[in-house]
């Protein structure tokens, strides 16, 4: 059971900000939400910001002269500035709003990749990547004929950095694209060092920040990232919006991704010229209200402080690793606490992860089960599926206790003993 603990943040106040947490999901079973790596919950500050926007300020942006359109444009571009500050980009021109991290990565593949990759070139990914950072490159590689190479992982769930160095040394690598934090193993990859190595080898360095930007302070200049992709919905923001950061010099010369309104300077029947950054990459009416919501999420996280969020999560995750390790037959994947953030994926003897998830759900405990969009990683781990508990700033050690108790219950149902 939980000993008294002082969290760095006022956890009761935070939980009160998230209306969804306060519910029973089955009769008598209160929600214990441990699925934030799939998508986080939203504080009322974010929900309200969007409601207010729709109730007072909505109109289409950029081309309007009337008051609502001016307000909507200011709100939309204001959100861009908030995101810029949050990741410390140099200019708002480097912040492109997309639908999600997946689209951000596809944008780089289709625009930068199609323009720059040639047969024989190499793009380096890793064995632990999310499908979103594998499939876009596979699709393009098939069309263009460049090669994909994968950084293998060690048995304790870290990237094999010797193999990475060898790839950079031996192959004509044009781009390295890796995740910052693994959504399955929780591994925090050393992206600063990896970026320096990539640059020394003449390659660009792109980071899938879907699981890092929500949880820790990411500074694109300090880490010297060329591209960074992340999603609003995993960082207390709404669904339907993601971000691509790119260094201005790269974005300036990249061809457009999608064509349409907003992204053009001039259209004639014979051809078109492109708008300035960031608009060149934002075709059609953007996700205005969602940008507003993301801006509010950034405000919310910033007010808590990313370092506090990280410290809070560490307390909860470390406790989870401790308590899970005491359950017979349970195996947690990934590195030890010093290299880990936010998630704990596990198997329980030969019980299928779906069965675990369903039995936990019956107790109100929400975890995810499956391959977590990382089939190659699961193949490497030698399992088809894992169950994954993931944590955010609103989770508490009591919820870890509920998880552990529900797992013991599953053991009993599957006749594995109490």
């Amino acid at each position: 059971m939980t000993e008294p603990i002082t969290y760095p943040l006022d956890i009761a106040a935070i939980r009160a900000d998230f209306p969804i947490l306060d519910q029973e999901v089955h009769p008598g079973k209160r929600l214990v939400f441990l699925d934030s790596a799939a998508s986080s919950q939203k504080p009322r500050q974010v929900i309200e910001a969007m409601r207010r926007y729709y109730e007072r300020d909505h109109a289409n942006v950029h081309r309007g002269i009337h008051a609502l359109s001016e307000r909507a444009t200011a709100a939309y571009e204001g959100a861009r500035e908030k995101v810029r500050a949050f990741i410390n980009a140099r200019s708002v021109r480097e912040i492109i709003f997309t639908r999600n991290a997946t689209e951000s990565i596809n944008l780089v593949a289709q625009s930068w990749g199609r323009a720059n990759l040639r047969p024989g070139d190499v793009v380096v990914l890793s064995e632990m990547e999310h499908h979103s950072n594998i499939v876009p490159w596979q699709i393009l590689a098939e069309q263009i004929g460049f090669r994909l190479r994968y950084i293998p992982i060690t048995d304790d769930g870290l990237l094999d950095l010797d193999a990475y160095a060898a790839l950079l040394r031996d192959e004509p690598v044009k781009l390295v694209s890796v995740m910052h934090v693994s959504n399955v193993l929780g591994t925090v990859n050393p992206v600063r060092e990896m970026a320096a190595q990539a640059h020394a080898a003449g390659a660009l360095f792109m980071v899938d920040g879907a699981q890092s930007v929500p949880h820790l302070s990411v500074d694109v200049q300090a880490l010297d990232m060329d591209f960074l992709a992340f999603s609003g919905h995993k960082m207390a923001g709404p669904t339907g919006i993601g971000v691509l950061y790119g260094k201005r010099a790269l974005l300036e010369v990249m061809p457009p991704f999608l064509g349409g309104g907003e992204m053009i300077k001039k259209v004639t029947l014979e051809g078109s010229t492109w708008n300035d950054l960031p608009h060149k990459f934002e075709a059609g009416t953007p996700a205005i209200a969602q940008a507003v919501g993301l801006g509010a999420a950034v405000d919310y996280l910033s007010a808590l402080g990313m370092d506090n969020i990280l410290a809070h999560e560490k307390i909860v995750v470390d406790y989870a690793l401790d308590r899970l390790s005491e359950i017979p037959g349970l195996k947690v994947y990934g590195p030890g606490p010093e290299h880990r953030n936010g998630v704990a994926a596990f198997t329980l003897q030969d019980v299928h992860a779906h069965d675990i998830a369903q039995l936990l759900d019956a107790e109100g405990v929400a975890v995810r089960a499956g391959h977590h969009c990382a089939m190659p990683l699961h193949k490497r781990l030698g399992v088809v599926a894992t169950a994954r508990a993931s944590f955010y700033v609103y989770n508490m050690r009591d919820e870890v206790d509920a998880l552990v108790e529900a797992i013991y219950n599953a053991r009993r149902v599957f006749r594995l003993g109490g």
Partner: protein, 132 residues
Amino acid sequence: MDLYMENIIDHGQHPRNFGEPLDPADIDYEDENPFCGDYLHLTAQLDEEGRIKAVSWQGQGCTISQASASMLGEAIIGKTLDELREFNRQTILDMLGIPLSPTRLKCALLSLKVLKGGIYGLSDWPTDEGEE
């Protein structure tokens, strides 16, 4: 406990007619559930009257999908193809006898999907309905 009634656990842990594919086989079909990776390969042989005389299946997945395959495999023995065409979502639900959420329903219906695929070929699958 409702969700995992005794006989589902039993079929899941001791699947009936589990084994290598029959060869030759009159019905031979495999498929998977893309959202969770459950996989099923089903083979069956007909006797001279056109009734299923032997079934063998292999697969990987959760207790629901394995138990459903095990129960369905038992249920089809002795049936004609025409009788099997009558099998539907409700047949499976009745066999399992527990309430299922939409996601778990897909696990449960994978066996039916594979059976129907073996009879009709997936492209002739009569309605969207049956698939999901």
